[in-house]
């Protein structure tokens, strides 16, 4: 039987944010629908409403032209709406089978037969009697999917399902989803990845700032057109003007730096040499785990080295800690925003205050000068277009892009001479990536230098003046960016050599 799902004028308002603004959409079985949008566009809220986790302030949901009430997850289940959340809703310490049986009314023996049939039909390979915590992310997702399939769903909603999957697992998932669609299940696929929309889905609805801005067939769309709809403005492809730094002053010099770690999981660094000029961006490419972490920590002062090995503005800084290095106008944006750059449980202004240094006057006689920190934080929020003006907000409620803007803003508002950043756009949506890239280009234009450690080659080629590759703790020759191609980087990253 055909399934039609219709959401009509759904609104949901959170304090300070309109998550869904009169959202109306129609879906029909036999097709795979994409719900596309940046982080914070309102996709997840809509999905939570459809699965009964969140109640809308206004609006109705119709299933086969009948209005249905979704006051709890149980209601969604009763109406055969299945949901696979981005963050798995599994019980890690229970076995796979216990996870499946917990919300099933069937007898254990019958359920086991049913599950085994599903496993066979879709070619899933999962041991039912091991605890979920022993499964890989892809397998956990399959358990979630099986949990939905047990209930013969009419609708299956997948929320950002590939963010935790490997490429192979993603391919497998797409095959399964197409099969479900053929079996008559209506599939709604939530994502911010444009390529996935084009390769998997039949129709795409784009959301922006809580509103549906476009509904179209994917055959009529291209990556660029979708990206523009998602961000809401024409993305100008920025390319950096490459400068000649022959006459500029040298700002940073690392010579013969070695680092040997006691931890077998860390990478040793061998005989690093590099120099950086004023206004220059040095890109460091490489497959992750080749010493980027260690290099970042050496630059930021989390790992202390011999005094003479790092010279910054003609001072020996190798023995200084991160705070002392900040006094010398260095700034850092680490890879892991949540655990290294910010404390998610703290409010925005408190996170800003963590970055204190002598000249900031955030603390006087051991007391916190809250007013000053808040003013300073407000300046960061507005200068770096973070999508809130509430400095009291806990940092964990910022989306990845906004948190990264806050972190970069916190570092840059002190006008440092050197910014070291490590994967600054990892996991962000197009709009935020663009903003960060523009900001990084801007600081070079203002005569400040930057070191960009990144695993994203497009980003490196776009932003760097010179590029080198780190492989097994060693740096390649440093090349001018205009002579480097993605192919060359690929060879060096794999440990090969070029002339």
């Amino acid at each position: 039987m055909n399934t039609q799902l219709k959401v009509s004028k759904i609104s949901k308002i959170y304090p300070g944010c309109i998550a869904n603004d009169k959202v109306s959409l129609e879906f029909e079985s036999g097709k795979i629908y994409a719900l596309l949008g940046e982080n914070g566009a309102g996709k997840s809220t809509l999905v939570k409403i459809l699965s009964g986790v969140v109640k809308p302030d206004e609006g109705k949901v119709f299933l086969n032209n009948e209005s249905i009430k979704l006051n709890s997850p149980l209601d969604a289940k009763k109406n055969n709406i299945g949901m696979v959340f981005q963050h798995f809703n599994l019980f890690e310490t229970l076995s796979v089978f216990e996870n499946l049986s917990i919300d099933s009314d069937k007898k254990d023996e019958d359920l086991r037969v049913l599950v085994n049939d599903i496993l066979k039909k879709y070619n899933f390979k999962i041991d039912l009697d091991i605890p979920v915590l022993n499964l890989s992310a892809g397998q956990k997702q399959k358990v979630e999917i099986i949990r939905c399939l047990i209930r013969n769903p009419k609708v299956l909603i997948m929320d950002e399902p590939t963010s935790v999957l490997t490429e192979q697992e993603t391919d497998d998932l797409f095959i399964s989803l197409k099969q479900f669609s053929k079996d008559g299940i209506l599939i709604i696929y939530i994502t911010h990845k444009l390529k996935e929309v084009l390769s998997l889905c039949d129709e795409v609805a784009v959301m922006r700032k809580g509103k549906v801005v476009s509904v179209s067939n994917t055959i009529d769309e291209k990556i660029e057109s979708l990206a523009n709809k998602m961000v809401g403005e024409n993305l100008n492809t920025i390319k950096k003007k490459i400068n000649n730094f022959k006459n500029s002053e040298e700002i940073l010099k690392i010579s013969n730096l070695n680092f040997k770690s006691d931890d077998p999981y860390e990478t040793n660094l061998n005989n690093l040499n590099l120099s950086l000029k004023k206004g220059e961006c040095l890109g460091i490419a490489g497959i992750s785990g080749n010493g980027q972490n260690e290099l970042f920590q050496i630059l930021s002062g989390e790992i202390i080295t011999e005094g003479t090995s790092i010279m910054f503005r003609n001072k020996e800084i190798g023995k200084l800690n991160p705070r002392e290095r900040r006094e010398y106008l260095m700034a850092f944006s680490p890879e892991d925003r949540i655990s290294q750059a910010a404390v998610p449980e703290l409010k925005i202004y408190e996170n800003v205050a963590l970055n204190n240094f002598k000249s900031s006057n955030f603390f006087e006689k051991g007391l916190v000068n809250e007013k000053k920190i808040k003013e300073h934080s407000k300046k960061i929020l507005s200068n770096f277009s973070v999508n809130t003006d509430n400095v009291e907000l806990k940092s964990q409620f910022l989306s990845g892009g906004n948190l990264q803007k806050l972190i970069i803003g916190r570092e840059l508002i002190t006008s440092p001479e050197l910014l070291v950043c490590f994967n600054p756009t990892w996991g962000l949506d197009v709009g935020a990536i663009n903003y960060i890239h523009e900001t990084l280009i801007q600081i070079n234009e203002q005569g400040k230098s930057s070191i960009l450690i990144s695993t994203d080659n497009d980003e490196l080629l776009k932003l760097s003046d010179r590029i080198c590759v780190i492989y097994k703790g060693k740096l390649s020759k440093i090349m001018n960016a205009d002579t480097v191609t993605a192919e060359k980087l690929g060879i060096l990253m794999g440990g090969g050599s070029i002339d």
């Binding site: 599994l90 229970l94 917990i102």
Partner: protein, 310 residues
Amino acid sequence: MSIDLNFIGILIGAIMASSVPLILAASGELITERSGVLNLGVEGMMIIGAISGFALMVVTDNLFFAVVGSMLSGLIISLIFGLLTQSLLTNHVATGLALTIFGIGMSAMIGKNFVGIPGKEFPLLFINLKESIPFLGPIFFGHSIILYFAFGLPFMTNYFLKKTKTGLIIRAVGDSPTSASNQGINVTLVRYSCILYGGAMCGLAGAYLSLIYTPQWIENMTGGRGWIALALVVFATWSPIKVLIGALIFGGITILQLHMQAIGLRIPVQLLSALPYIMTIIVLVVISRDSRKIKLNTPTSLGQIFYKEK
């Protein structure tokens, strides 16, 4: 020789009796903790159970009312904990500590008029079998019905948690309340029920002390047994059977060291008194070494406040 054997049997019987309050309280707390709630008020709930059981016995002269009443009073005082932590979302640790302090104070107040009143004899089962069979008699017979219940309880708890649907739901809530709620499980209801059950068992443990073990009311008569029960649950890594083993070791060494003190061994008394605590922890740590099992048994959300998204 037969006299010696009989003495050992009596000794074992005494050890079993002394471990009953620990088994009851720890089994109750185990269920509470498995649902993700850390109730540090065990000592307080036990002592409230002890005084209300004793007081009811004096007032009504009926042991059945006394026992049921002690369970009810444990349940009611744990309801306060439930209201605070589940409905008003207060911190589990602070609320539990307050509950213990409240319970001790409250019991002393109620108990003022009951000091010095003699207890009533609690009926013991199979008393003639106890005397007629040497060695095994004093071990298996001549105990109160509560003792038999206590020794069955860990096995029933184990079965309940592992084999029944309700047990599965309790474990799921303790693992991840958010996931459970998204699966349509009423987390608050599950946690309330587990808290109330834990409270009732602690009340019963208290009543065992004041009605059977030392049938009288003495202020502060639980003497830290609630804390031992709490520690047993953790060191037994939330396994009911290991709780039983731990309670027996603790009871056993407590009784044995008393005998050693009486014999007059040249070991400092303080060291002997500390022995049950040290040995229980060592044994439980040793039998619970399997880190994989610990991970599977530990309620991941223990002590975390849960509130539902609206």
